[in-house]
Symmetry: C2
Subunit: 379 residues, 2 copies
């Protein structure tokens, strides 16, 4: 219990700063007399503002959070006081008192990957200047790391959580289900969302590219993949489905590695594939880095694109359009995913959950020179 008899043996000299003075002199509408405390940041507090405005500190708190609930006159006075003191709220105190931090935790598997920097950009832009902080974690594609980070994040009682993909480990999933805040799964959609979801179908995207290459008359269509996370595997599954339907599937056409994706890895995988299946006439790359690597490898080997080898990428990085030849790719709504994930989270935090809690943003096949063969049925 607090001791009410103690407070006033304040005899020491205070600091010279005007703020300190103010803290002693004026801030006494509240019961507490803030005297030469040994601690404290030296910055103006709610009570200082309250003192200057001649109101209770709780009123200042309300005026700041929900101006409607305070009379215009006081609101006015308080605004002036805030301004004069240069008051900045202390987020820790707020979080402690309300048992809720103004933080959105974001878990992504990679920072190297171009894709996620776009998502992040969308997230930051989606925030605008609302006073939420992004707490950001890199799982390095590891379930253990994801769980560990989530535990840390949960320790802050975040306002919302954004996680990548739909393949959380069981413990992780359960933690998310019981997190007690809105959760948005991004990048991919699927059945059985934890809470909200925004992304697109990687299976369908994989099918779309494969179908395009089949349509365009390619016979021996390879698949090149690096990193092979669950989303990559889903795209591979889409490829396989279409290839089987077309009666052209051959396991030898698939060349993957668990190593990270890179341009040079594209060249490496292409050479591997070409060794296994020298009759290759097209490659579908798991992403654009690889595709660019293949482009360069073909260039070095004087293979004509698309005449001898057709190339398709994934994600549609800006350079695909400009490349020579331009490279067919699947445009994915990365930035938009980030932006709308935040929008959904904010809505949910504000209490009105969006009606659509699972949002399919789709994708778009961009057909370009690298696959522009005319389909010539054998004749």
């Amino acid at each position: 219990m607090r001791n009410f008899l103690a407070p006033s043996r304040d005899n020491k000299q205070r600091r010279a700063a005007p703020v300190a003075e103010l803290r002693r002199g004026v801030a006494s509408n509240d019961s507490e007399v803030r005297n030469r405390s040994r601690r404290g940041s030296g910055r103006p507090t709610l009570a200082d503002v309250a003192g200057l405005a001649g109101v209770g500190s709780i009123t200042v708190s309300r005026a700041l959070r929900d101006p409607e609930r305070v009379s215009p006159e006081l609101r006015q006075r308080i605004a002036a006081a805030v301004d004069e003191l240069g008051y900045v709220p202390n987020p820790s105190a707020r979080a402690l008192a309300s048992a809720r931090a103004d933080v959105i935790g974001v878990l992504v598997p990679s920072l190297t990957n171009n894709v996620f920097s776009e998502v992040l950009r969308g997230i930051h832009d989606g925030l605008g200047d609302c006073p939420l902080q992004i707490q950001f974690g890199n799982t390095h594609y590891s379930e253990q790391e994801e769980e560990r980070l989530l535990r840390v994040f949960l320790g802050q009682r975040p306002s919302a959580l954004i996680v990548s993909g739909i393949d959380q480990a069981p413990t992780t999933r359960q933690m998310l289900e019981e997190a007690g805040c809105p959760v948005v799964q991004i990048m991919e959609i699927g059945p059985d969302p934890i809470d909200m979801m925004i992304g697109f179908s990687h299976l369908e995207a994989g099918k779309a590219v494969a179908r395009h290459l089949v349509d365009v008359g390619c016979k021996r269509i390879g698949f090149l993949g690096a990193r092979m996370d669950p989303r990559s595997r889903r795209r591979l599954a889409g490829y396989e489905t279409v290839m089987r339907e077309a009666g052209r599937f051959d396991a030898a056409l698939v060349t993957t590695t668990i190593l990270p994706s890179s341009v040079s890895m594209g060249a490496v995988l292409f050479h591997k594939a070409f060794e296994k299946t020298p009759d290759l006439d097209a490659v579908i790359c798991n992403n654009d880095d690889l595709a660019l690597g293949v482009l360069f490898a073909c260039h070095r080997a004087s293979l004509k694109i698309p005449a001898q080898i057709a190339i398709a990428g994934f994600n549609d990085l800006e350079m695909m359009e400009v490349a020579s030849p331009s490279i067919t790719s699947v445009r994915t709504p990365r930035y938009e995913i980030g932006r709308r994930a935040i929008a959904m989270a904010r809505a949910a935090i504000a209490g009105d959950r969006p009606q659509r809690t699972v949002v399919d943003l789709g994708f778009e096949l961009k057909m370009r020179e690298s696959t522009m063969r005319r389909a010539r049925p054998a004749f």
Copy 2:
């Protein structure tokens, strides 16, 4: 509510009840008796741990922060209690009590830019698993935005601050000087650091590339630049210096834009430059995106590289090495800058500032096919 903050190893059947019970019954070594409080997160607190371990909560606090100062026996008991309860410290409470958040604020000008995602990666890796959070802000190359974000960051009393570049606006600079925490300026070095600094000389880097192209026998060496932030301008200055020395400077050779850098912008700028100076025999690109765009543009125009046009980039993205032809570039220590900036910040936070507070990490000119002409002095 199941407690997921518990280390996953003890996922036995013991759940919610014990904690609540404990909070009422046992936790009374401290003067406070935590009874049926209307507030609170329901999660175990320091006092709960203290109760279970039979010590004062301050001892638990110490055992967690600085184990050395607690006797091995108590340390042991406390560890067991923490484990059993799945106690996770509340960072807001800690921040409030200590007037210092375990947060490092990081201000970068862009997220799109490949360069900064590398720096970020370095920062995150440099953190290891030390319990510091990164608070991240994107200034969009705007001084106003930088100042605004800094103000927000300062409101949290961060443990350290990392800012990009050395050209802060006066107000911003002053805020940083008075931040009361270690400050690291990254990417670039220069005179008059605010506190610590890590990067390299962009002026020298600009000179190095230009000198290389001069050495290699190029006469009409263009400079292509986008975004033109202060660092870009410094590189341009380096180029200009060398060109003047060689008696080859011509303002018409410089083609820049304030628009963001991109591969397609590289092609655009190249065409512009070629129009102005059709006798161009080399281009130095302000960064690798542009260089790649130039490569593609040359390819489309059937210009031979390096025979007709030599190309040099900046940053040495991974793809430069693999490109066909491979592209000369300046390798910059982006990842290393991030990693070591954090190391410096951590050291300073821990109280032992590194002796070298200004660290020049240098750069490395990577000469590749795209500039491999033999220098043929006129004869």
